[in-house]
Amino acid sequence: MSFNFHRFWAVVVKEFIQMRRDRLTFGMMVGIPIIQLILFGFAINSNPKHLPTAIYAADNSPFARTVIWALHNSSYFDLTREAHSAAEIKTMLAEGEVQFAITVPVDFSRKLLRGEKPDLLLEADATDPSAVGFATAAINQLTFSVLDRDLIGPLAKLRGSSPPFNLVTHQLYNPESISQYNIVPGLMGVMLTMTMVMITGLAITRERERGTMENLLSTPVHPGEVLLGKIVPYITIGYVQITLILVAAKLVFSVPMVGSVPLLLALALMFILANLAVGITFSTIAKNQLQAVQMAFFFFLPSLLLSGYMFPFRGMPDWAQNIGECLPLTHFLRVVRGILLKGNGMAECAPDLWPIALFLLVMLTIGIKRYRQTLD
């Protein structure tokens, strides 16, 4: 039972020929990305609350504490992390650990008392503009009255028509809040999920449905050779789709590409493999092609809705976020947006790579375990 390269290659060659002859699948491969680009090229809005926020309070005065508590009470911000340096804040935002970071400068209360209107810095991860819009508006509102109760006695004169301090907002990564910047790179992951799962799901059930599986099993070919031989051609399809989206992102939607495209292409391989593994596992369960398609949709819908593609991830209830965390698309979206919009490197992507790797491993194990070498 050793893997034989010649037999594996025989399956690869056969799959390529069949792929070329199957016009419908070929059309799907190119058509789906184009249709989705048109359909999802617009923004999908929502009003997420309880967004994780990091605080870097260089000035720990009563005024600063009041502002921070007011932010917390607004229900838009959850103060999840405390930073001790500007660099730390930068990392948290890049890795997507927090959506917002608030920096209270060192001389905040001193300047405030002198009536010099100090700055309060709000940095927002605006890769998904709809996720930060409402929260930013809320904090702006807050600045007018938040300190009213602290400004009493001689300080009362600081209360007035203009806020006692300036809120400086930095919309990081996507300063103009262009939703296409968020949607279009995300589309890459959505499309790969949809087509990769479905195509592999069909590829094996088709053999069973047409009766060719019986023939294949009666030859000395091993399961590993068949599965890998079927996967390889679809990896190339995956890359065709990625290229298509990247070109459209650049030329049609002018999405910035801050990070390394080769890194993105390299990391995409694991995501493609994860989806192919899902397809293969489905095809070992599905009895015919129709069932395979149904199962592909069963997987695709939660991926679409819960991954943070359709709705801001942090706007979803906890249970939905927990499901989302299990889906490879959720993590791949962070990787794609991270690389393209934030210019993330390998280190920042790592926290989202191992969940995809784990998913791949689990799926592959189930798939190979379930693939039968007999017709029993």
Binding site: W9, R21, R210, G211, N215, P220, T374
Partner: protein, 308 residues
């Protein structure tokens, strides 16, 4: 002849699907170069038995060897030496003739693959049509392609599952000519079929019903073992006579064959005694040798009583 001289030598082969026993304790011995016909009604377990021999299904019981290899443990080795032709055309309809042959040749790691494919195309007479998609071939040509593909790795044993279903008589005859030529060259065949004319072209036969092997041997042996007495009746008013005969004790089969009627039963005396009152001047009664079909139908009827 010692055990290892058989191409197939298995005993006690059993397969259950859930609570249903599909193949029940079957023993089979096939000599090298022999054409063994495997007959039985639909759903009797023929295909299941073939699939177990080539490792497509795991038997629930049984032991023995196939081409000198343990048929339960060494199915991977057996696969390399066996050609299996499925009941349904199971090559790729969206691949051309040549691509199909090439794919199978690669899977079996046929040495000098290109030459083997070329030779196969020549023998098929399909050199000019090599680029034609297999899905566009007629039934007869599909069957020839399937046979050619099964032969490309030069197997020692061919398992053919109803190879001539849906093929016209001329193509069927050519097919059997080819089989006999190959058998003469030393190839062993195990062929399932429903056609009696094909059964009589086999060297030896096995008859299976409800998972049980009911009879086996040469055509003459099977007929003899059937122990059937058959009368041929010709003359007037045969349909009316047939009606009267049916249901009489001892009369097991009344079958119309063109202008004659075949009346058979296993108990010769009982049959004669009960049919005697009907042997009138209008018809002509002759005792004839029972045919394979009469025997098989009788076997099946008996099996139905015993097993179903």
């Amino acid at each position: 002849m010692s055990a290892s001289d058989f191409a197939i030598d298995v005993r006690g082969v059993t397969k259950k699907f859930g609570a249903r026993t599909v193949v029940n304790d079957i023993a089979m011995q096939v000599r090298p170069g022999e054409i063994y016909g495997f007959l039985g009604p639909n759903g009797s377990g023929k295909t299941t038995f073939l699939r177990m021999l080539c490792g497509l299904l795991t038997p629930d019981g049984g032991s023995g060897q196939c081409l000198g290899l343990d048929f339960r443990r060494e199915s991977n080795e057996i696969k390399k030496r066996v050609g299996y032709m499925t009941q349904r055309f199971s090559f790729y309809e969206d691949l051309s003739i040549e691509e199909n042959l090439d794919f199978i040749a690669r899977l079996y790691e046929v040495p000098q693959r290109k030459i083997a494919v070329q030779k196969s195309l020549e023998r098929l007479g399909m050199v000019e049509r090599r680029k034609q998609l297999a899905g566009t071939l007629s039934g007869g040509w599909k069957q020839r392609l399937a046979l050619a593909a099964c032969l490309i790795h030069e197997p020692q044993l061919l398992l053919l599952d109803e190879p001539t279903a849906g093929v016209d008589p001329k193509a069927r005859r050519d097919f059997w000519e080819e089989i006999h030529k190959l058998a003469a060259a030393g190839l062993t065949f195990l062929i399932t079929t429903h056609y009696m004319d094909e059964a009589s072209r086999c060297h030896r036969l096995g008859y299976i019903a409800y998972g049980n092997l009911l009879a086996h041997g040469t055509v003459a042996e099977v007929v003899k073992a059937g122990g059937l007495t058959t009368w041929e009746v010709s003359g007037e008013n045969l349909p009316a006579l047939a009606e009267k005969l049916r249901g009489l004790p001892g009369v097991e089969q009344v079958v119309a064959f063109g202008t004659t009627l075949h009346v058979s039963g296993r108990d010769a005396e009982k049959l004669r005694a009960n049919a005697a009152p009907l042997m009138t001047d209008g018809q002509h009664w002759t005792k004839i040798e029972s045919g394979l079909e009469d025997v098989f139908i009788s076997l099946m009827e008996t099996a139905k009583d015993n097993f179903s």
